[in-house]
Amino acid sequence: MLFWTLLKVALKGLLANKLRSFLAMLGIIIGVAAVISMLALGAGAQQQVVERISSMGTNLLVVHPSWHRRMGVVLGTRQNLTLSDAEAILSSVKDVKGVAPVVRGSAQLKYYNKNTRSSVIGTATTYFPLRNYEIERGRSFTEGEVERSSAVAVLGSVTAENLFGVNEPIGEVIKINNLNFRVIGVLKPKGETGPFSPDDMVVIPYTSAMKRLFGMDYLNEINIQATSNSALNTVQEEVTSLLRKRHKTPEGQEDDFRVFNQAELLETMSDVTRTFTILLGSIAGISMLVGGIGIMNIMLVTVTERTREIGIRKAIGAKNRDIMRQFLIESCLMSGLGGALGVAAGVGGSKIVEKALEFPTSVEITSILLALSFAVAVGIFFGYYPAQRAALLDPIEALRYE
């Protein structure tokens, strides 16, 4: 009953000095808005990183040859990964779901007068499921076509558009470094754009790539899919020891290959974005503290202005804690209201960022609750001293105050 009356009085007081209250709340508003939008940006970035890494494939390990160095100078990559390495991994390592050997190169693609440079991936049929590529139109190549080194190609969506525009590419013959390949399928876009788009490429059987196109007898990558996420680390260990044995690497010497572990990368990247989010969030939090000082300032002014009212309240029987409570309610109302406005501004701001910069943001309910409770805590903390000053006023002095 008393609480509602006090709340009503506090609200009336705020409304009676609209500009002043707004300015006092501004620090909190900006602080909360900053915290909300920073956390939203961080969560969005995290989501994007996770999405991007998992779009590369699931439970993926990629083996690359290591750098070939002499006297610390990188001379190029080694040429020590072979098809038989890939076959050995598939046949002797446990918990391996699939293996795809990969040779990479870049080539000039031509279709009549259209010309584009694109990366060429020579691989096996297992590559598509491993790397989460889906066929949009046409088909993928068959194992028979791999065996026969057939001149068939599956185009990434961007490449297909570069060469064919709106025309149907399936069944057409294109030239890859002046060799004829028949287009048999087009991949579903992964949705990322830019110079290193995973959709700008052409996939052909590795046999055709090694023998016809590039004349290579080694692999650039071996892609390995583990049966489950939890098996990734043991598969990585087993692959490492298998390859060391096959490459006759003496003990104590470095591996002549590198293994890229998707789970590890995901963890590292998530850690990075999380740290970044915490950093931004705490900088935003500091502005909330500054906002709290603004509230403290205005509360001190309010207490002085209302000294006489405090005297009256004490004369009719308000105890020190009643006065204390009244002013704490007022400062919390101010910071809570500021917090609510800040949440609105923060949510609106991150939506605008999302629209304008096409950067994903994600406002989480926990960050709203966190920011709101932090705002109220700031109100209590910075309202305490003014409220205590009010509570300890001598009633006679306060009644005499003009």
Binding site: T5, A16, K314, A315, G317, K319
Partner: protein
Amino acid sequence: MMIKAEALVKTYKMGRSIVRALDGVSLEVRDGEMLAIMGPSGSGKSTLMHILGCLDRPDSGTYFLAGRDVSRLPSNQLAEMRNRHIGFVFQTFNLIPRLSALENVELPLLYGGARRAKEKAKAALASVGLSDRIHHEPNQLSGGERQRVAIARAIVTEPAVILADEPTGNLDSKAGEEIIKIFTELNAQGRTIIIVTHEPDIASCCKRQILLKDGRKVKES
């Protein structure tokens, strides 16, 4: 015996010198009495009222209010005594701005945790003739009306004593007469009233008068 004060002493420091605002004042007020405390400024009547009103404690002497020694109580218990047993009426009305007349009158009940505060507050306002003004804020009321709201606030808790400090000092004579009329009516209903004043006209409405000078009681009639 509602009030029984004995040998009250209160001193203040004014720079280097020490002022004895009350120098051994004793006072008894019976239930249902109407008493005037008079004296020139600096006579100690405000200090006496503050002590009688439990706003302040005497340096020495004892003060029994409603059978309880309150001369040494800590401030929170003094606040409770004020809330239950004292009703203040001030010269400058001292209503809280931005609260309606009704809310002002309700306030002591809310601080005291009383039930049915709104009904009691309405009844108190009705008894001072302000039933039609309960939702007005103080700045929408005339001086006389404000003082009547203040009286309603003083009587709403059914206190043992009503303490009025120059209640007509800020009013024109017509409004002042009305206020005094209300006080005499309340007294006729059995309420104990102490009026601090320096106007002999007002004091003459009281059956008993006390004259203070230099912190001492010099005359009682």
